[in-house]
């Protein structure tokens, strides 16, 4: 089915339905067996484990089962999995999904649009459409649960958990009240959580341990010691509430929000963690459940997640204080010792069984959005969904001075093609016919709900530039008594923040381009021998069926080593004809036609060719790679149309245009010689590739590079091409044909099937007084106002920094309009217009209250990433820290009402800023002990990273998986999140840590061998394979684990690269380097850091 559904197309609205099963497997092979195999990999769900207390009851329960053959079946022989190098799971498309395990109900086909339904277990989620959450959970075997299942699932899982069940609350009220009521019980502990004075405890989780006090080492890190200001209490509440949204259901969990009410009112408070937008409900639920559960021991595993600090406080100004604990009254804080680690602010997972409903505007004013990472459903009531565009501050400072004083940054994070929640309404398409959309004749802003019609509708005032235009005659409509046009509610462009206009001829310089996919595969000796070529070919082969159907889909393929090999796929030929371009200094395309042909005409040739390529070059001894020349030649072949160029590369480009040298080695010497120029290695080696990239962009060629390598390839240089052309780099290092093939396939599949557009141009317009300062992200900019995006997709996010050029009126609104002109995969030219209108304020405290933590942090992260290659690392780190300090100082100085100088007072909205800042400092990009390529990849990854993934990147989620609950019928999902501190990692545990891209599975040194056996099929940590492929064994624990992984995949839209980590091994070190709250070589512990900040602020104060 996959095939039929066009990926890009429809919005997920469809999804709304039951979630598709994601699990289907994707293995790639078509044949059933393979599928089965894959499935295993993917979906194993495992029961949720409980974080804190180690041994939760549940765990044990599970154990019994022995590994079933199921898993094994998949892999017949040992390697079974992929004969080929890693073929990923079969396609999902392929029907046969054998759901191994779980009974899934049928998979709804419809579900995700582009995504195939049946995902193989493995990837299911990510790619698959975002199926509703439910699906996730179910998916063990690839089977999918019906959506309906899902909701329930949450509940059920909890069998135990009381609340959940029915819960799917439809109701989300935002109103606080709800929350409160609902779940009294469970939450009880929760109460404490809230930052508020009460301890922030994470309490919830452990059920027991809630209080800060409890030093629970073992416990989850709960709460932040600090009390949150009043806010916190509420904060929690919010979460809950949000959770609540489903109140009914969840309610239980919910708690008692303490005082909260005020805050609670605002929905926003969701803790970031939960993540994925899509799959939302489901998992969120889980946590919740868990949460509730606490009380009940046996009950679900779900421990309530501990919530740490709450996320944002609601409207009121909230602030978090880190109380005295910390500092002595006196200035200097004495030591960290004083701070109770359990009370420091930490992210609180949001437990929620169902997403919050968020209305973008209420009462004719902008409604601050929920955290980017939370699960919410948007109702567009004038402003666009925050998924498309969100601002670092939800109120706009009237003057530049005010902004400067706050030290915060004013920027928009724009993700114009972002995936909506399945149950959101799709963006409406408006066709103005030949004349095209109504626009302001001065600033060319597009008609939007904030344009004010006057003079009986004969004129309208542009909300962006203030100019008064005549209403076109055929667009005229009288005004109603409320001053709005009478037809405002019927016209999407007048009542919705996001609409799409059908582009008229004047928006086209040529006919909309066809969907062109050109695959370029490295077949040099190294690529062949590591299985990278086979993996790539196999992935492409499976993905062919996911390409959009129709005559407008063109494909081409080429391979390269020291020369470039094109293939003439024309149907008339008996077999493909290989055309070699040997001149790699001055390349050209070997044919003008026939190298790129209609998919329908060449499918057989293409499949045959892909099967043959790995063997055809089997005996190749060519070690050289002419990457630069190859992409140039491919570009020349695509020049007349533009399109997507997908490059699979395994070694450093060593010959031809744009050849690179192994400067890493030289770089090492430089580093030891003195760090001065160390960052130069992170800059492109020369301008050749950049020049090429700009040319590519001009001809609408978007390049994605899949780097499957074992060595240094100079990503810093290579990445210039994808960055400039709106593509991205995928990095598999060290590449393993066994474990990475599935991810390669899934990444490729998602790349092709996700909603996307071609030959796009984007511009953001702002109201008078504000202007765009700069754009950053993956695009090409030729003129200051617009950015060219040869390709734009749902995952790409662009940072738009803003500056004042005038004062704004207090009480007025400042509008932002992002217009994206693009071509759909089906060749329609569209203009997607997203509008955001935010109130202006003169009050500093409003700025702090309305600061958007996720967005602020994403902005901070991206700016740091931009700096990394051009500034010495020390300087970057210092800037990051200073920014954090300055913001907090500004708040402390101008807004905090508390007088005790000994307290570290944090604005409620930004109370996690120090933690994230610390995490950022310890991230790959800001450490200098990492490989150059890792760092290059890191900051490239960041450049297009979406807001919801920004925090997880530096502050990953960690779950315990050795004690996932195995209760019958408990289908749901994510276990509680554990703070990233080694205190919470016990020797007999197994932990799963993920940042949206990579996932680490860590084994303590004394893990119960039966658990190992159940989860991984081996009994001793020593047997852990270096190349890991997740499998599902026939036991509840394994299923549960697979479920968890699949849920995460779905949330992140990423297959995750799984790595096993053992204590005492380099891999173990890697794991511990993610424990950002620990003190380590790259930075102080969290507590120490807070002390440091506090000290700095105090110094500034005095």
């Amino acid at each position: 089915m996959a095939a039929p559904v066009p990926p890009g197309a429809p919005r997920p609205g469809a999804n709304s339905q039951p979630p598709p099963p994601r699990n289907v497997n994707p293995n790639y092979q078509t044949n059933p067996n393979s599928l089965a195999d894959n499935m295993q990999n993917l979906n194993l769900n495992r029961p949720v484990s409980m974080p804190n207390s180690g041994p939760r009851p549940s765990p044990f329960g599970q154990q019994p089962p022995f590994p079933q053959s199921g898993g094994s079946a998949g892999f017949p022989g040992a390697l079974p999995p992929m004969a080929r190098p890693g073929p990923p799971p079969g396609m999902m498309g392929r029907p046969a999904v054998p759901p191994t395990g779980p009974p899934q109900s049928a998979l709804p086909a419809n579900v995700p649009p582009g995504r195939p339904l049946g995902q193989p277990s493995g990837h299911s989620s990510p790619f698959g459409s975002r199926p509703p959450p439910g699906s996730l959970s179910s998916s063990t075997g690839g089977a999918v649960l019906p959506s309906s299942a899902f909701p329930s699932s949450g509940a059920p899982s909890g069998g135990v958990a009381p609340p959940m069940p029915g819960a799917r609350p439809n109701v989300f009220m935002s109103s606080p009240p709800l929350t409160g009521p609902a779940a009294p019980l469970s939450r009880a502990p929760a109460g404490p959580l809230s930052n508020g004075p009460p301890a922030i405890v994470s309490g919830a989780l452990p059920g027991a341990s809630q209080f800060p006090l409890a030093p629970s080492a073992s416990q989850p890190p709960v709460g932040p010691p600090l009390t949150m200001m009043s806010a916190r209490a509420p904060a929690q509440a919010p979460t809950m509430r949000s959770v609540l949204g489903s109140p009914a259901v969840t309610s239980p969990p919910v708690q008692p929000m303490p005082s909260a009410s005020p805050f609670s009112a605002v929905p926003q408070a969701r803790p970031p963690p939960p993540g994925s937008p899509y799959g939302p409900q489901t998992w969120p639920m889980q946590p919740q459940q868990g949460a509730q559960a606490p009380p009940i021991p046996g009950s679900t595993q779900a421990q309530p997640p501990r919530m740490f600090g709450m996320p944002q406080p609601p409207t009121n100004q909230a602030m978090t204080t880190i109380p005295p604990a910390i500092g002595q009254p006196g200035a200097p804080l004495s030591g960290p010792s004083k701070i109770d680690p359990n009370q420091i602010p930490r992210p609180i997972p949001i437990p929620s069984s169902s997403p919050i409903v968020y209305e973008t505007r209420q009462g004719n004013s902008a409604n601050p959005p929920p955290p980017a990472t939370s699960d919410y459903v948007v109702r567009d009531t004038g402003n666009c969904s925050p998924r498309y565009m969100r601002c670092t501050i939800n109120q706009i400072p009237c003057t530049a001075d005010l902004l400067t004083t706050s030290s915060m940054q004013l920027a928009l994070l724009v993700q114009p093609m972002a995936l909506p929640h399945p149950s959101e309404d799709p963006i409406q398409v408006v066709d103005f016919g030949e004349s095209g959309p109504v626009r302001c004749s001065r600033c060319k802003g597009y008609i939007n709900p904030f344009m004010k019609f006057i003079d009986q509708g004969r004129k309208f005032i542009c909300n962006l530039c203030g100019f008064t235009d005549e209403t076109p005659r055929d667009y005229h409509c009288n005004l109603g008594p409320d001053g709005r046009r009478r037809d405002a509610d019927e016209r999407p462009e007048l009542c919705r923040g996001a609409v799409e206009f059908v582009a008229s001829k004047e928006y086209m310089v040529r006919d909309p381009m066809p969907a062109v996919y050109f695959f370029l595969i490295d077949v040099s000796m190294n690529a062949i021998q590591t299985g990278a070529t086979a993996a790539a070919c196999s992935a492409i082969n499976q993905v062919i069926s996911d390409l959009p159907e129709g005559p407008r889909t063109l494909v081409g393929i080429a391979t390269f080593d020291s020369t470039i090999h094109f293939y003439n796929l024309k149907r008339a030929l008996q077999q493909p004809l290989m055309l070699i371009v040997p001149d790699i200094q001055d390349v050209y395309t070997p044919l003008e036609t026939d190298v790129i042909v209609q998919l329908s005409e060449c499918r057989q040739h293409l499949e045959l060719l892909l099967e043959n390529i790995p063997t055809m070059f089997q005996s190749s001894t060519t070690a050289e790679s002419c990457f630069g020349a190859a992409i140039k030649a491919s570009y020349l072949a695509m020049k007349s149309t533009g399109g997507k160029l997908l490059v699979f590369q395994s070694v450093m480009p060593s010959v031809g245009i744009g050849a690179l040298s192994s400067r890493e080695a030289e770089g090492r010497t430089n580093i030891s010689a003195g760090e001065k120029e160390a960052h130069k290695l992170l800059l492109p080696a020369d301008k050749i590739l950049k020049t090429m990239a700009i040319e590519f962009a001009e001809y609408q060629v978007c390049v994605d590079v899949f780097v499957t390598t074992q060595t240094y390839v100079d990503i810093a240089s290579i990445s210039v091409i994808p960055r400039t052309t709106g593509g991205q780099v995928y990095y598999y290092y060290p590449f393993s044909a066994v474990s990475d093939s599935a991810k390669l396939y899934n990444d490729l599949r998602w790349n092709i099937t996700r909603p996307q557009g071609f030959e796009a141009v984007m511009r953001v317009r702002c109201s008078q007084g504000i202007q765009v300062q700069d754009y950053s992200g993956n695009f090409c900019k030729r003129i200051p106002t617009d950015i060219d995006l040869p390709g734009i997709d749902c995952d790409k996010c662009i940072l738009v920094t803003l500056k004042h050029d005038d004062k704004l009126q207090d009480g007025s609104e400042c509008a932002f309009q992002c217009a994206l002109l693009y071509t759909t995969v089906y060749g329609q030219r569209r203009i997607r217009v997203t509008n955001l209108s935010l109130p202006c304020t003169n009050m500093l405290s409003n700025l702090f209250r309305s600061a958007d933590l996720d967005t602020q942090f994403a902005c901070l992260l991206k700016r740091a990433a931009i700096e990394i290659p051009t500034s010495p690392l020390v300087q970057v780190r210092e800037q990051v820290t200073n920014l954090c300090i300055n913001i907090l100082f500004s708040y402390r100085k101008f807004c905090a009402t508390v007088s005790s100088s000994g307290q570290l007072i944090l604005p409620e909205a930004l109370k996690l800023l120090p933690l994230y800042t610390l995490a950022l400092m310890k991230s790959t990009g800001l450490r200098n002990d990492g490989r150059i390529d890792d760092r290059s990849f890191w900051f490239n990854y960041v450049s297009s990273l979406s807001t919801p993934l920004a925090v997880p990147l530096v502050y990953p989620r960690m779950f315990a998986i050795h004690n996932l609950s195995t209760k019958e019928g408990d289908e749901s999902v994510l276990p509680p999140i554990i703070p990233l501190s080694s205190e919470h990692v016990s020797d007999d545990g197994i932990y799963f840590l993920e940042n949206g891209e990579d996932a680490l599975i860590y084994f303590g040194s004394s893990v119960d061998s039966s658990i190992l056996q159940q989860l991984f099929g081996f009994t001793s940590v020593d047997e852990a394979p270096a190349q890991f492929v997740i499998q599902q064994y026939d036991n509840p624990l394994s299923k549960k684990f697979n479920d968890v992984v699949n849920v995460v995949r779905r949330q992140r839209c990423s297959y995750l690269r799984l790595t096993l980590c053992k204590k005492g091994d380099p891999s173990g070190m890697l794991f511990f380097s993610c424990m950002v709250e620990d003190k380590n070589a790259s930075g102080p512990s969290y507590v120490e850091f807070l002390v440091h900040i506090h000290r700095q602020i105090q110094m500034k104060m005095s």
Binding site: Q575, P576, L577, M578, D583, P590, E592, T593, L609, M616
Partner: protein, 770 residues
């Protein structure tokens, strides 16, 4: 007529000279007007030539081979070289020599002998049998129909190749495609862009043949070492038996060039690049062994190096007028490119054959240099479907009677007596720049050497060697000087079977003191050869000398010749008579002046180049036909007989057969045509008429069968449009100016050209002027 009388004027030696007795001094020689020249067909087969299975003895001084003119001292076992008078001892294996036991090369009648050479004398069996190598270079910028013709011609050719012949394939259009025939997984092609000049090194590297580092030692190819060690051979060149299937299916799928051609434009065709790539490929795989590049070209090169015209159709291909006015912007550059290609091919020992078939020009004029220097074949036709191409092409590959006897890798060395100097050679060869005492100061054609490379040669290949005599007339005290002069031609080559052969031809001629007796000199004059040599020199000068007035130059020389050798009273034209030995020469000159070689403006530069290449490589008899076509008349009244090449030969009841070498015209008189149209030949009672009609057809076929390239056969009727092919060649003794004088049934030619008679009148007048 002389050719009737002497059917084999070349004899065993295949050598003809303008003068068969030589004036002693330079001054005397220059007075002879017609230069001293010899033409030689180096490997012309002759039943009497013995083949010796050993290597010749060489003079240790001048390295001339032992020959029948050497004086031998049987007692001392010593021979004296007739060229340098060096005394050489016979080696031990000649110990048996005696007056009654002569080795073959010393028999007086064997002035020409042939040796089979082995690379390794110690191990004759190790001599590699070098298979012939063919790289087909096929143009794909043509209409489907033409492509089908040429494909089928190629398939047929491949089927005719010996099984062991190595075959490579390059196709080209906008880009050049080198097909890797040895790649079994799928069709694999290396693509070279057409608009960029590519060096040999780049070709090697880009085909993956470079790094191997098997760089043949520079200079002259020693033949191939140890068979084919080199991977390029297995990848790109395969034995015909192995790749016939592959090639056939490849040809089946081959399409016309897929690059779009905008309206009003020529197809973009990178002939130059394709040829350099093919040359590079051969250079990498088989340097020094015989190989041919067979280029099948369907239009002008418009892309990259070697371009002869722009793509814009509104710009016509250069004409002679453009060349004259220096208004052909691409010409010189293209010639330079092909010249360098020629150098490369020569250094590799490879041949370029050009088969051009197109209605318009394809650039033969520019490519001439590469074809001629390498001794390649050239065929110019209107279409690949035309018999001129089809039959000629087939002939190249066909075995048996009519085979061309294609040989490779030839080298010609000339030894000559002390006072003889070599100015140069006109013909399909390249100077090897081997200096020696016998090299003249003035150079004509490929000079400055006593050795020439002939990458390709066949049994009809003919070279013209121009001599000078040393001007030291004083030093030759009569009596001391040898009365004979000697010339020795040594030709080594690889025969079609891959054997290395050496042919030695030694000829002697007599010195004469013309100041004393011009009678001897006159008797030694060969008018036919002289006419052909003059034609070749004229062609060369027209190409080489700016503003050269050929007609004038020919007239002047003819007048001088007549003045010198005619008998007359001063200033009395009517007293003028010419010795029979010279009697035909003025007529040859008359026809040469009117021929396509001199009157180039009637032809395109391509045609002219084509005609000249053939003029230069054909034997004297054929070349003479090109200059002065032969005309045979068929009638009821008599047996077929030669007719005057004059419009007066046209008669309503005759059939004429004109052989102008490039075309053969069968011309039916009006009455004959009417009878034929009425079908009399089909009636039993008119069998004689049927035979009359058939006779010229049979004769034409006979000529066609023996000629390469196959001539165009034109069958026409009097007053038909095609009759122009005949009329153009006839002496316009009857024109519209004197139409009233003509006999009934005859014809007139609409021209202002002077007739032979007028020409003679003027000649006589001028010759006798004091």
């Amino acid at each position: 007529m002389s050719e009737m009388a002497n059917t084999d004027p070349e004899g065993i030696d295949a050598v003809r000279m303008t003068w068969n007795v030589w004036p002693r001094t330079k001054v005397e020689a220059s007075k002879c007007v017609i230069p001293l020249a010899a033409t030689i067909a180096p490997i012309r087969p002759h039943p009497d030539i013995p083949t010796l299975p050993y290597a010749p003895l060489r003079c240790r001084m001048c390295s001339a081979a032992l020959n029948a003119f050497a004086r031998v001292d049987f007692v001392a076992k010593i021979w004296i070289c007739p060229f340098c008078y060096q005394r050489n001892h016979f080696p031990p294996h000649y110990a048996m020599i005696s007056e009654t036991n002569l080795p073959c090369e010393l028999y007086p009648q064997y002035t020409t002998v042939q040796y089979t050479l082995q690379l390794d004398p110690n191990n004759p069996s190790s001599a590699p049998q070098l298979p012939p190598v063919f790289v087909f270079v096929l143009d794909t910028c043509m209409i489907e129909e033409e492509l089908e013709f040429v494909k089928s011609a190629m398939k047929q050719a491949i089927g005719l190749l010996p099984e062991n012949a190595l075959v490579g394939f390059v196709s080209f259009g906008t880009q050049a495609h080198v097909h890797e025939l040895g790649f079994s997984d799928m069709s694999k092609v290396y693509v070279f862009r057409g608009n960029k000049e590519i060096t040999r090194e780049q070709v090697l590297e880009q085909l993956g043949l470079g790094a191997a580092g098997r760089r043949p030692t520079a200079g002259y190819p020693k033949g191939l070492q140890n068979g084919f060690t080199n991977s390029g051979v297995n990848r790109f060149l395969l034995p015909a038996s192995d790749c016939e299937f592959t090639l056939n299916s490849l040809l089946d799928e081959l399409q016309t060039d897929q690059w779009p051609v905008p309206a009003g434009h020529r197809a973009s065709r990178c002939t130059g690049v394709a040829l350099s790539v093919a040359a590079g490929l051969l250079g990498a795989c088989l340097p020094g062994t015989g190989a041919r590049i067979v280029a099948l070209v369907g239009g002008p090169c418009t892309e990259g190096p070697g371009t002869i015209v722009s793509k814009d159709l509104s710009e016509p291909v250069r004409s002679h007028k453009d060349l004259d006015k220096d208004a052909a912007p691409y010409f010189k550059k293209a010639v330079k490119f092909y010249d360098s290609l020629a150098k490369q091919l020569v250094s590799q020992g490879h041949v370029l054959d050009l088969f051009a078939s197109a209605l318009d020009q394809v650039g033969v004029a520019e490519m001439k240099v590469a074809v001629e220097r390498t001794g390649g074949l050239v065929v110019l036709a209107e279409s690949f479907g035309h018999s001129v191409f089809k039959d000629s092409f087939k002939r190249v590959f066909k075995d048996g009677e009519q085979t061309l006897g294609l040989c490779f890798n030839g080298t010609l060395e000339i030894n000559c007596s002390k006072d003889v100097k070599i100015q140069g050679v006109i013909g399909p060869c390249t100077s090897l720049e081997k200096k020696g005492p016998n090299v003249a100061d003035t150079v004509i054609g490929e000079g400055n050497t006593t050795a020439w490379k002939m990458c390709g040669l066949d049994k009809s290949t003919c070279l013209t060697v121009l001599f000078d005599v040393s001007s030291t007339d004083k030093s030759n005290a009569p009596g001391v000087a040898n009365p004979q002069l000697y010339l020795q031609f040594l030709t080594s080559y690889q025969d079609p079977e891959g054997k290395t052969m050496l042919r030695v031809t030694t000829v002697t001629r007599q010195w004469v003191d013309s100041a004393v007796s011009s009678e001897e000199l006159i008797q030694g004059f060969d008018q036919e050869t002289a006419a052909v040599v003059m034609a070749r020199i004229t062609s060369l000068k027209m190409e080489m000398e700016e503003g050269f007035d050929a007609t004038r130059w020919l007239d002047r020389n003819l007048i001088r010749l007549c003045s010198k050798f005619g008998n007359y009273r001063k200033d009395d034209p009517s007293s003028f008579t010419l010795n029979p030995c010279f009697s035909l020469f003025p007529q040859f000159m008359f026809n040469l002046r009117r021929s396509q070689f001199v009157q180039v403006f009637n032809n395109s530069p391509d045609e002219t180049a084509y005609f000249r290449m053939l003029l230069n490589r054909e034997n004297i008899t054929n070349a003479a036909v090109m200059i002065q076509p032969s005309l045979i008349s068929y009638s009821f009244n008599s047996l077929p007989q030669p007719a005057l090449l004059d419009v007066a030969s046209i008669s309503a009841d005759r059939i004429l057969l004109l052989d102008s070498y490039f075309s053969i015209v069968i011309f039916h008189g009006m009455t004959i045509a009417q009878w034929r149209n009425m079908g009399y030949q089909n009636q039993p009672e008119h069998q004689a008429f049927a035979q009359l009609l058939q006779a010229p057809q049979d004769d034409a076929q006979m000529i066609i069968r023996e000629r390469f390239p196959v001539p165009r056969l034109v069958v026409c009727d009097q007053h038909g449009s095609q009759a122009r092919f005949l009329l153009a060649k006839l002496n316009p003794s009857a024109t519209y100016n004197n139409a009233n004088e003509m006999a009934a049934g005859s014809d007139v030619i609409f021209t202002d050209d002077v007739s032979l008679q007028v020409f003679f009148e003027h000649l006589q007048r001028l010759a006798v002027q004091s």
